[in-house]
Structure formats: structure tokens, C-alpha cells
Amino acid sequence: MIRGIEFYLDMIFVTAKGWILGLLGRFLPDWMIVLASIVMSSVAILALGPVIMMYLTLLERKLIGRIQNRYGPNRVGKWGLLQPIADGIKMFTKEDIVPANADKIVHLLAPIVIVVPALMVFLVVPFGERMTAVDLNIGLLFFIAISSITILPIFMGSWASRNKYSLLGGMRTAAQLISYEIPMTLAVVPAIMMSQSLSTNTIVLSQTGDYGLRWFIFTPWGIAGFVVFFLCATAECNRPPFDLPEAESELVAGFHTEYSGMKFALFYMAEYMNAFTLCGIAATLYLGGWQGPFLPSWLWFFGKTFLLICVMIWFRGTLPRFRVDQLMGFAWKFLLPLALINILVTALWQFTSHFTAWLGSLLILAVSFWGLVQLNRTFVPEKRRYPLES
């Protein structure tokens, strides 16, 4: 009986959709049902994206406020819950400023184009059991490919603004996104190797069992892969400490310096939705996705994702920003070799027995970490002595 309730809670959205489709099926032709199914999924995603974005901004402001010993927004509604709506109204009513020399069409297109990939990647995120909008057999590749489009609108925005800060921001973005895409893709590979599939759903399913101990993060290569993936994800969605494209203290706001009102809001929205999907994919790959005991699957998924987002916010509340060459160096000289070695470790893991696998992979990873640190002495703080003289 209890299991039954759990099951229905778990399937609540799937059942609801199926029930509505069944209802429609009585008086509509087949192709309309297919269309209705697509429409329902996409409407759900289209509604989910902005809502998540709005409340992520609130969450971020609250958490950073608490980190800094202050309240954060608490005036609009209880606990500031209506703050995102107030912000939205403000954004809508703000004047839309276009610089005189701007390339008007491209300037207009950039914020529109940036939202599209941010929404499209929601398609392959497994929100819960049987709750992937499209269970593509190349799901992860789709995700990586689509999120690589994000560079383009940022370039468009930065170029069309005709602002030197924007231009520098755009250059930085392109360099950063391309560089971090490579270790990110390589960090995904171990999970693909272990689950032998590119489909996000299959990857989640291959982490079933043992009350969550089969999650990939509970293996040496899983931890390394997760750390590399998560750092790259932080860089991919331009969040601190990798927020160079919009470095406030240097480039004012980077590529969106010249955007205001709703156009700016769209950039902002894409950034937060990207953060959400990247965290969701990180949870899917290494934290077992929607797997988890007792609670409904979608709750597990959202819980894990929000936990990762909180870590991102925590980063933001703590860390200073990298410099551009250090950022590149970190991707190419540190994360990339680590991800490559991690692939090797995963292969070894697959072909050796249990105990030796643990020992060997931990050893290899530790040694390679140490070696990479030794090779990159510029990342390591110098030890200094400060004489006190009278």
C-alpha cells in the first residue's frame, strides 16, 4: 500500500499527462495526440525554465546575503518570495536602450538566440523516472552540441554593441567557453564508458541499486570526473570564479554592458537556465540523477540539482575571480590532463578486480594530481616571510 502511494507520487506528472492524452484520444485523431504530447512537454519546459530562473535569482541573493551576514531580499512578499516578480516587472518596464552605432538587428537577435539553446537542453534532462522530454539515444552529445551554440549569441551581442568592453568580454567568452568545453566533454566520457550509452536515461538507470552507493561519484574516477565536470560547468555558465566574460570590476558587464530591460533579462535568464541544466546533468552523470530511496524521483532530481546550484552560489560568495591567462591555463594545463587520465583510470577500473581497481585508480589519480600541481607551479602560492623591523 505504502509502496503504491510512493509509486503514484513518483509518477504523478507522467500519469497526469497520460490521463489528459487518453482523454483527448477519445475525440482526436492519432497525429493530433502526438502533437498534443509534444506541445504538453514543451509547454512544461517553457514554463519551467523561466520559473526556475526567477527563483534561482532569489535563492542566490538569499544565500549570498546569508553568507555575508545580511538578509537578502525580504521586502516583497513573505521572505521576499515575490521579489523575482517585482524584478520581472521592473525589467519589462525599463527603457530598452540601443547604442547609436550598434548593429541593430544583431543586437536584437542576440538575446533571443541565447535563450533557445538554454531551453533546448532541457529536452534531454531526466527530471524523474520516465520524465525525460525526449529520450534521445545521443542525449549527452545533443546536450554538449546544443550548449556549444551559446558562444554564438554572446559573440553577436558583444560585437553588435560596438562597445570596447563588450568586445573584450566577447573575446574572453569565446576563449573561455571553447577551452572549458573540452575538459567538460572529456569528463563526461567516464560516465558514458561505464553505462555504455549516450542516453541520459540509461546513464541514470545504470546507477541503480545499493541505496545510492552505486552512484558514480562513489568511485575514484567518479569523484575526479565530477570535480572536473562541475568546475567546467561553472566556467561554462560564466559563474564565479570563472565569470570573466562579465567581470564586473574590470569590464563593467562584459558582453551585456549595452543591454538593458528585457534584453538584458533574457541574457540573465539564459545564464541561470544554463546553470540549472548543467547542474542537472552533473547530477545525472555522477550523483545518480533521479535515483534515490523513499522520495519521489523528481524530488530527488531537483534536490540534487539545487544542492549543486547552492555550491555554485557558495563559490560566488567566497572566491575571487581568475585572470584570463590563468583561467586558460587552468583548463588546458590542469583540467584537460586530469580528465584524460581519468578516462584511462575508468578503463582500468573496468578491467580489473574490485580491490586492485580501488587501489590502482586512487593511486593513479593522486599521483597525477600531485604531478599536475608540480607542473603548474604558478598555481601554487609562494611561501613568503615578512620581516618585522623596528
Binding site: I67, N69, R70, F315, T318
Partner: protein, 194 residues
Amino acid sequence: MTFGMGVLKGMIVTFKNFAASYLCKRDEGGIFTVQYPEEREKAIENFRNFPFLVYDGTPEKLRCVACGICERECPPKCIYIVMEMDNARKPARKPAVFDVDYGLCMNCGICEEVCPFDSIFMDHDFEVTTLDSRTDLVRHKEALSRSNEYFQKIRPLFASAIDQKRKAAEEKKKTPPQNTGGQALQPPAAQGLP
């Protein structure tokens, strides 16, 4: 120390502060902000904002005698005084006009220090926003006059010290008037606090 520990340590510090913001009180590392219009910091007696004029009893009995010392010493020249003339065209030893331009005043407190009649003091009221800074921020005599009780309320220690001093001077005046100069030269602030 291994690479990455510095960052982790920093993150632990911020996490501690995050937790403290829920668990601790204000002075023990908890949330430090004050929700301004509802909550206020406790008033600090020596806080000085804009000057006001003290009267004893009724608003007509201003202590100010329009001597013009504050007007002369005010560094940004934000005070404007016109002495009231009585019917005989003699100075009435009270101000007909006493304007302070709050928009110009820089809250230095020099008027308070130089006033020999204990008449002008610095107020605590800082909520003086107006729509038109050119006209509304110029406060006239009526708006500037505050009772001695108000003064007692906002700066109890200082005001009672002033009152005592005035009472002593009064009594001295009744007895043969002599040797008041040294007393008057004492800066009020130096005596203000025990």
C-alpha cells in the same frame, strides 16, 4: 599544504558565517544588518547632524541672542541671522531671521562649539529629505526651534550638564557679577561629559 586547501578553508569560513547568520545573535557573528524603518540602531548621544535652536519653555524664549558668532565662524557659511529691532530701532537681542541651509551645512558642529549662549546644538534628526533641495532644505527660525525638553531627550547627559552650567551662571549673576569670562571660555564639549 596541498593545492586547493586555501580555497577550501575560505569556503569553510563562508559556510560558518552562513550558519551563524541563522544561529547567532547580532553581536556574536549573526546577521549584522538592521531593518531600517522598523528597527533602528540605539541612538548615540554624541551624534551630530544638523543644528537647531534651543528655547526654554515657549518658542518665543529662544536662548539665541543673535550675536552672529556662529554665522561668522560657520565654515561653509550656511547660517544667516538678522537681529530683531525693537520699536526704538535698538537691537532686541533676539533673532528676527535665523536660517540654516541644511543643503550647505556639513555637520561639523563648530556653531555648537563657539556659541557662548548655549543656544545652538546639533540635532539627531537625520530624516530631512525633501523634494526641492534649494528651498525646502533652508530651515527658518520656526522650524529650527526646539524645546529644552527635546534637547534633554536626545542628549540627556550633555543637556543636563549645560543646564547645570546655566543654573550656576544664573546664581553667580545674582551674587556680585564677576569673573564669568573664564567659565564662558570653557568649550562646552570639554565639560559636557563627566
